[in-house]
Amino acid sequence: MKKILLFVLFAICLPGLLLAQDTESTSSSSQYGMGSQMFTFRAGPVVPAFFFRPDQSDTFLSFDEMRMKVGGYGSIRYQGFLNNTLALGGELGYLFSYDIGGDLFTSVPFQAKLTWIPLQGTFELPLSIGLGFAYNSYNSLVDTSFLSLLSTFEAGISWYFREDWGITIGTGLQVIPEIYGNAHTYPNDTTIAGFMPITLSVTYRSN
């Protein structure tokens, strides 16, 4: 688990490191400007990363203890550029994963997404954060679903094989908190879940 988290951290930090080394060359050849747009379709496996359960005896459960299998994630995203490096938009996705008993967990995240692209051109390094909501369901029980907040952190490496079409390999973390107050029947069931999608994206950009 530590290796996975280190990998995510490295992936997030890598573009920053590259930028620090080559700031002038990237910023001087800006690909985008105010009014530029991007459409992105993403799909790939999702690795259940952790459950953080502050009120349980086993506070932290990593992938091999979560009793969840590797699932899948797909989404569509639209973003418009605020300036030559920052793009703001929205993403609607669908995440699924089965527990070890074969019951299905699904999540429909919808989020506002801010992407910073420090390195631009044929190869790009997009870094994103997202905030929004996720509608989560679990079919082990009848009528078990909940709407939660959602935050995401992502990093990727893009290659534009044409001027307006590119592909991106990316990863990150989707954090879904399931928070219960003292008035709930099971107040100790508060859990923060982390999922790590590893996606291949296809992006169309228009300048």
């Binding site: 459950f51 359960r53 459960l61 979560m66 070890i100 082990s140 679903s145 099971y186 069931d189 859990t191």
Partner: protein
Amino acid sequence: MKRISLSVILTISLLVVGCNTENSGVFIRISESVEKVDVGAVTLATEDAGGTLLAHTYNEGLQSYDPATRQWTRLIHPSTDLAVIVDAPKTINKDHISSNGNDLYFATTANEGEQNLLFKYDASSLPYTASDYDDSYRIIRMAPSADLMLIDDGGTFKVVNTSEAFNASDTDMLASAFAYDEAQLLAISSSIFLVSGFSYDAGTETYTYQHKLYDGGSLSINTTVESLFVAMHEDTAGNFVFITNDGDIYYGSDIASLTKGAETLPLPDTNMSFRTLAVLRNGDDMYVQGAAKNIYKITTTDGSFTDVSDDFPSDLVNVEIYSFLTTVGGKHYVGTKDNGIIEFDFP
């Protein structure tokens, strides 16, 4: 401004619609999920002398299960072991097995108006021959972990000991001329049981219920209870608890005037019209699994109930419990709908 108001209303609506207000946490449930076992719903019957459990499974019929190795073994192969059956079906249903603690009996399903074929399980008798079965009874229900079966003896419904019936020496423990269209046989033991059922008049479209308890003698329960009973228990002080398929709880020591409990038990999400509720018995204590797989303790003296799910192992509140068995050695097992057999200890 209108857009902001609309967004706020939409968000509040989604939060209200999407809140998990009653069940335990989704991620907690996932982290406690139990691996599926591909045998289907398990109805436990008994334990043999070697410590192997004998049960009916939905997918494979009669099977044995070794708790030490977790190995399932099919006991009866219909096409070969039951080849002696020519014209009748060879299917063995979960409510057509019974046990007297040593031997396992089972009956195959019968065509309309015909008698069932009653067998005693004996590995050395396989494949069965015509002299190995009894075809004297029209069997309605058998009690999986008791030596009982409910039979239709030409319009008179009777309960007899299966082992005695198999040896052609049965005694009627309970007999009723009531014309059951649907009946359940609930057994605490081979000497304490309940027949609960109804008859349906198609002309007037009315149901008439009858509930007969046997506790050393035949007793009638309040005939005003117009639901099927799906679970029962008796403590050592003689207090009875009966649960209907609507979740109503009736309790008391006077069978003829039971009292209805103040609250309705939230029953499992599956249709209770066609199943009974497994009772987890631990001495005087009675536990049943209700809605959302929660486990409730029923108080026999006042018919109240308490959610005690957190007191049980997490495995038990993440599976659907179908049957329960306590062995002679005092081990407790549940047969589940999708997760095989689980051994557990009471809190």
